[in-house]
Amino acid sequence: MKGKILIGILILGVIAAGAYYGFGYLTKKQEKKIAKLEDKINFLKKETVPMRFKILQKDTANITFAVKFYDQDSTEFTADTIRLAGQELSFDFAVIPIKKDYNIAFPTKIFTNKLPAKNGKSLFEYYDDHGFPQTMSINGADEEYINLMTDLFAKIKAGDTEKIKGIYGSMVQDIAKLNEFQVNHIYKIVIHTKGGIEVLEDI
C-alpha cells in the first residue's frame, strides 16, 4: 500500500516537473514575443516634431506667425516670425522612405491659400547647418547617419529628387471655416514613422 502511494506521488512529481519545465520553456519564448510586439507597437507610435508655430495675427490680406524648429531630440535650435499673403497656412515636406515602415521628412516650404506653392517661402535656410539638416540632428549619430542625411538634404535643396527612391511631398494645413488655426494657439507638426504627417494643437 505504502509502495503504491509512493509510486503515485512519484508519477505526480514527474508530471508536475514536466509541466513546470515544459511550460516554463514556452513562457520564456512567449516573453520574447511579447517584448518584440511591444517594440513594434512603440515604433509604430513613434513621432517626431520638427516644427511648432503660432499665428500672431490674421486679417483678410495677410497672416503673421511665429515658427520654431526642433531636432530629433526635441531641442529648439531656431525661430522666426513670418508674414505671408493669405489666411490659411500650408506646411510642405519632402518625405523619404528609408526602410520598411520608417520614413523621414524634411520641411521644404510654407505657402498659403493665396500664394501658390512655387512662390512659397523656402524653409531650408532655417535648418541648414553647413549642409547638414539640423532637424535630423540626434545625440549619438554616427558618421553613416550624418553622411546620409547630408546627402539627402543636398539633393532636396538642389531639386535633384529623381535620385531619391520613393520620395514624395506631403503638405498639411488648416481648413477655413471648419477648423482654422486660431490666433495665439500653439500647433505642432508631427511626423509618423509610417510617413503620415499630422498637425494638431500643442496643448
Binding site: A16, T27, L37, I41, P116, Y168, S170, N179, H192, G196
Partner: protein, 311 residues
Amino acid sequence: MGNSQELLQQINWFLKPVSDFILYLFTTKTGYILMLLFLILYLAFTVYNAMKIRKLAHEAVSRNLRPSFFERAYIFFSELIKAFMAIISKLPVLLGILLILFGIVGLSNAFTTIDDYVANQKRIKELQTVAKNLDKSYIVAKLNIEDVDYVNNLTKLNIYYYDYEKDDYLPNPQHVEIKGHDIYFLNLVMNFDYSEIETGKKINLVMPYMIFSEEVAKDDGIKLQTTDSVGVPYIFHRDDDEIYGIDKADYYARLKEFAEFMSNPEKARKEGIKSFYAAAPHFINRIKKGQNIVVWVEQTGGLVLKKERLF
C-alpha cells in the same frame, strides 16, 4: 481551456500559500533559524523531561535527595544522543515527508507556470490586434496621369475614388485639367487617438475635396466630387466586415455625427478625435503619362503615397 484554467487557479489558490511557506522554511535564512529553534526546543524539552523524571525518582526515595552534577550531565548527553539516533532511525519517513512537501511546491509552481502561459497567450493576442490595427492603411484614391504637357505646363488626370463596399475603385473617374505638374490632392483628414485605433473601434477618416498645383493657389483650385447620391463620401463606404461590430445602418448614422465634429472641436475631442486638418500628398518628381499615384491613409495618422497593389 477556460474551465481547466479556472480549476487550476482554484487548486493553486490553496497550494500556493502552502508552497510559499515550505519554500520560506527551506530556502531563507529566517526559515533555517526557525527550524533550528524548533530543533533546539525539541531537544530542550526532551532533556528537561528526562531530568524531571530522574528528579521525581530521587524524591520518591528521599525528599532531600537530588541528582548529582555528573548524573545530570549524563542525562543531558544521553538524551541528546537518543534524540539524534531517533531522528536518524526515522530518516526514511522524514525523506518521504520532504518529498511530499517539495512535491507540493513543484505542483504549485507547475500550476503557476501554466497560468502564466495562458495569460501570456491572451496578452500576445491583444498585442497582435493592436499592432495589426495600428499597421493598417486604407486606399483613398488613385490619380492616373492621362497626359502631362511640360511645354504649356498643363496636366490632365483622372481621379479614381476607392469604394470599400465594392473593394475597388469606382468605374467612372473624375477628369481634371490643371495648370502645373506638381499636383496637390487635398483631403480633409480626421485622426483618432491611438486608444481608439488600437482596439479597432475607429478608423481614421479622409475626405478628398480639392486639387491644386504648384502653379495654382488653393483658392483657385478645383473642388472634387467625392460623395454618393445621399451625400456620403465614397471613402466612407465600408464592407460589412470592415465595420467593426456595428451594423451598416448604425455606421452611416455615425457619419452624420462626424459632420458635427467638423464644426464642434470640443465634442470631437470627447469622441477621441486627436486631429482634424487638411493634407495633400503630392508627387514631387517628374510625372509621366500613364503614371498612377495612389493615396493611402495610415492608421497611425496622416496620408502617404504608396505604390499601387498590382496583381
